[in-house]
Symmetry: C2
Subunit: 161 residues, 2 copies
């Protein structure tokens, strides 16, 4: 499995995401590791990430599934193009649709593990399926439709759009 997280190969200007940007020191710093077939994410919730006492907030689970699925799509796309993650031109995905099914309450006092798998990978679109586990129990399932950003997307100017 790749030692370096996919998010740590993103270009600096794309690494400001609240969910997974290494340059966002107020963010969640979600990390995805690609093992050649799937993306793996491990995350320890903080005590304030609660919904009800003892359980993880569903919105945090949505954040984990979102960033982890996009990073897995990015890794899979570099893999399909036989390129190193982070190599130019950078591959970037945006979320089109995010669906989360909450199967059972997710305990907050343990590490969460997410596995993301590619269901469909096309030139401009990917579908990713994601499962979240706590203490060996599947607690949530996610489906993400990711849209590949055009290469000419210049993030440094996107604020003026």
């Amino acid at each position: 499995m790749a030692e370096k997280a996919i998010q740590d190969t993103y270009a600096d200007e794309a690494a400001v995401c609240y969910g997974c940007g290494r340059n966002n020191t107020d963010g969640l710093q979600i990390k995805t590791h690609w093992d050649g077939k799937k993306g793996i994410c491990r995350f320890k919730p903080k005590p304030h990430h609660t919904a009800y006492p003892g359980f993880v907030y569903g919105g945090l689970i949505a954040c984990l599934i979102d960033c982890h699925s996009l990073a897995t799509a990015t890794a899979a796309s570099y893999h399909a193009e036989r390129r190193d993650p982070g190599s130019e031109p950078q591959i970037r995905f945006l979320t089109g649709t995010l669906t989360v099914r909450y199967l059972r309450p997710t305990p907050i006092d343990t590490e969460l593990v997410l596995y993301a798998r590619i269901k469909m990978l096309r030139e401009k679109k990917a579908a990713i399926s994601c499962a979240l586990y706590a203490n060996g129990n599947e607690c949530a399932q996610g489906e993400v439709i990711a849209i590949r950003a055009p290469e000419e997307l210049d993030l440094s100017h996107s604020q003026d759009e």
Copy 2:
């Protein structure tokens, strides 16, 4: 429109949610106001709630839709039962399924406004539709299936479950 936010009528032990709990000082403090027909939420993102420079993180949008939709289901249920919000026995909802469609990038430098409407309200289940606007443009749509928690759910013991 009710001056008091629905979340501010939740019992203390249920008001710890990272998304909308008034007792979670590290949280987002999302607030829903019920006008008798729909739930209205206004939220000003912080600069660190970014996805790419200038735009709101999709996971934050998922959080807003989640908490705002559950609060709207809570308000609508009290309304249907002709009871004051927060009156005993407390009405509580949990998220069953959350779907978010991202229609366009959401600018971060403005107030976001969300409208949530009840699509279905049954004894143990509700369906809520939610639209998020920025500068008058609809930027995201959400659908939430909410499950009504049984009255006997004792939050003070849920950690031992």
